[in-house]
């Protein structure tokens, strides 16, 4: 027997949980402004997230999927992307979306049951939240195909979870992107859990990065709690894409510190100790420690930033709660470019019955 192919999967971390650099930091990470901007974004995300959970608990928001613990993975992706790149998120990547310009009130609108949340101000070409798991990987490949065909130096980035790597759509997207050498980056946010299903039950694969091998594309694992590692490798993957070198799969190792969504009770299926251990690795602490050590961040700044973030979140919440319900006609008016004749009567009926105990 001869060996005809071999592969290795690498892992990268720049800052360890203590905030100690493990390798020479990439250029952007030596610029204090850059670090502070990412830290700001992570903190804003966290404060926003906590507020959203709270809104749900108090009946002001529908089911909400918290991103607690994912801030570095999400912000790292956002910071690496250019505005003209395209994001195809799942339902949790607030850090990425906020960085890219989606409004917090828009995210709240979405989880508040209002489609206008997906008509966001952020990059108008980004895909909206995607709930059907891993289907967005194909959209990213399609967008990348469009860029490639038009010769535009842009990339698409899809994001899905560890559970999402079990869906056929995920592999089909990887394989297609490999076959066509598309400018796309597939991010897998491995937070160890798919609702109640732990990674060991999801797959026998030791890493999720190695799923790239099946498609003949590069795959790599990074510390998803290290925003520097995430940003650096996503930037490199995007460069590869723009240079016509094809797709990349990046697995970001992190942990879902929250319940799956506000409709979930994770204590039913996972041990508190596991969560506590994971909490020690969370992403904000380590970047703050590093910045503190570098003398580019102090408690006063932290306090000021926290206040600023809270104010921004409060403003967004106010805007959200003050948004009147959309008219019932909205159900009809965006179905097709023009309302088909056959729907006119139904539209009239909906107007007539609006609020009139119709569905109640």
């Amino acid at each position: 027997m001869e060996t005809i192919a071999d592969f290795e999967i690498k892992y990268s971390q720049f800052l360890d949980p203590e905030g100690e650099p493990q390798e020479t930091l990439p250029a952007f990470a030596r610029d204090p402004e850059e670090l502070r901007a990412m830290y700001r974004s992570m903190l804003l995300t966290r404060i926003f997230d906590a507020k959203a959970v709270n809104l749900q608990r108090t009946g002001k928001l529908g089911t909400y999927a918290s991103c607690l613990g994912h801030e570095a993975s999400h912000v790292g992706i956002g910071a690496a992307m250019r505005p003209e790149d395209c994001l195809a998120p799942s339902y949790r990547e607030y850090g990425t979306m906020l960085w890219r310009g989606v409004g917090m009130h828009e995210i709240l609108l979405y989880w508040g049951g209002d489609e206008r949340g997906s008509d966001f101000a952020g990059p108008r070409h980004d895909f909206p939240f995607c709930v059907p798991i891993a289907t967005q990987c194909l959209h990213a490949a399609g967008a990348a195909m469009a860029y490639k065909l038009r010769g535009e130096p842009r990339c698409a980035v899809s994001v899905n979870g560890d559970g999402g790597t079990s869906e056929g759509a995920f592999y089909e997207a990887l394989n297609m992107a490999g076959a066509k050498q598309l400018p796309v980056v597939f991010m897998v946010i491995n937070n160890k859990w798919a609702i109640s299903v732990p990674l060991e039950l999801q797959t026998a694969s030791r890493t999720l990065a190695q799923k790239a091998v099946a498609a003949g594309i590069p795959g790599l694992q990074v510390d998803g709690n290290d925003v520097i590692a995430v940003r650096h490798w996503v930037e490199r993957a995007l460069e590869r894409g723009r240079n016509g070198e094809g797709p990349t799969l990046i697995e970001a190792l992190t942990y879902r510190l929250s319940d799956h969504t506000t409709a979930d009770d994770a204590s039913r299926y996972r041990k508190r100790e596991e969560v506590e251990a994971a909490r020690k690795l969370e992403p904000l602490i380590r970047l703050r420690r590093y910045m503190n050590a570098q003398g580019i961040w102090d408690d006063k700044q932290e306090e000021a930033l926290t206040r600023e973030c809270i104010a921004a979140v409060d403003k967004a919440v106010e805007r959200y709660v003050n948004t009147a319900r959309a008219p019932v006609t909205a159900m009809f008016d965006y179905l097709f470019a023009e309302l088909p004749a056959s729907l006119r009567e139904q539209r009239e009926q909906a107007i007539r019955l609006d609020g009139n105990g119709a569905g109640h």
Binding site: S166, I195, G355
Partner: protein
């Protein structure tokens, strides 16, 4: 005998049949330790072990396809699809394999599987969690589409579905999972498939419905009864193959037909019922058939969902419309 909600009746039926027949295997996403996102399988893994109640990887085509394989090889898989909006990747395995394994092999192999699908709106769920795709499956010869609308029917029809030697898509109306309790004995007795259940007798108009809409319909019937209008309310229960006879008989008596469902109207399951009646009982009809349904639009996010779904008022106006003539 205990007062159970519809979802508790589902759990009871699963437990009952698992205890009776060790070929019954429950599988799906989060059905194990977590007991299902709706808790339909709560406690089953603890009781029957992780082999008989299996958390699967996250892949619906896989869940359906593996169920086909298991069913063809002597097991009785009862698979859960987490929500209506995620059943679509499973369609290929259902229509191309589950539905036709018996036909394709002239009976050499068959496919006694159940696919449980919580469906429908009205629970303020996130996007893609409130669809009613029953009509798609009803148009697949070789599968049964069964929809319970009360705890007792959930228990009895699920037992029947599991015991049926052919594939059953079992749509569970999630909006009424916990709406009302009903005494349900763990009798181990299945209810009949392929027949409608007449929930209320009446002489003036036949109202045919299923799933969560039975509640709106019964409420409408109550209201109209106070005006002396008698609604005969029929719960289709097995949507396909359809028991048209019961419906026809009723229409022959009342002369009027209203069909109520939550799914979009056009090409929905209500169309078949209207068509059958237009074919077989047109001379009995004293008024045009009315369909009271969801609109032909995308099920909206929840701030608008109650404007989308037919409620008591819409059912009542539909019934009144048939009484005008």
């Amino acid at each position: 005998m205990a007062a159970l909600t519809l979802i508790e009746a589902v759990t009871l039926a699963l437990a009952s049949e698992m205890a009776r027949d060790e070929r019954v295997i429950v599988l799906g996403e989060d059905v194990g330790v977590n007991g299902g996102v709706f808790r339909a399988t709560a406690g089953l893994q603890q009781r029957f072990g992780a082999e008989r109640v299996q958390d699967t990887p996250l892949a619906e085509a896989m869940i359906a396809g593996v169920s086909v394989g298991m069913a063809a090889h002597g097991m009785l898989p009862v698979a859960e699809i987490q929500f209506d909006g995620f059943v679509f990747p499973a369609i290929d395995q259902i229509i191309n394999h589950a539905a036709r394994l018996r036909t394709r092999t002239r009976g050499r192999l068959h496919c006694p599987m159940v696919l449980r699908v919580p469906y429908g709106g009205g629970i303020h769920a996130p996007e893609h969690h409130s669809d009613s795709p029953e009509a798609l499956f009803a148009h697949m010869p070789g599968v049964r589409v069964v929809i319970p609308s009360s705890p007792a029917r959930a228990y009895g029809l699920l037992l029947a579905a599991i015991r049926d030697p052919d594939p059953v898509i079992f749509f569970e109306p999630k909006r009424i999972y916990r709406l009302q309790k009903q005494e349900v004995a763990d009798s181990g007795e299945a209810l009949a498939l392929d027949v409608c259940y007449t929930l209320r007798d009446g002489d003036d108009v036949t109202v045919v419905t299923w799933g969560a809409m039975t509640y709106e319909t019964l409420k409408a019937a109550d209201r109209l009864a106070t005006e002396g209008i008698g609604c005969e309310v029929i719960d289709v229960a097995t949507l396909s193959p359809l028991d048209a006879d019961t419906i026809i008989e009723s229409v022959e008596k009342t002369g009027r037909l209203v069909i109520v469902h939550e799914a979009p109207r056009s090409f929905g399951a209500g169309a078949e019922i209207a068509a059958v009646v237009a074919e077989r009982a047109i001379y009995s009809l004293r008024a045009p058939i009315q369909r009271v349904t969801g609109y032909d639009t995308i099920m909206p996010l929840f701030r608008l969902e109650m404007e989308y779904m037919p409620g008591v008022e819409r059912v009542i106006s539909g019934i009144r419309a048939t009484l005008k003539d």
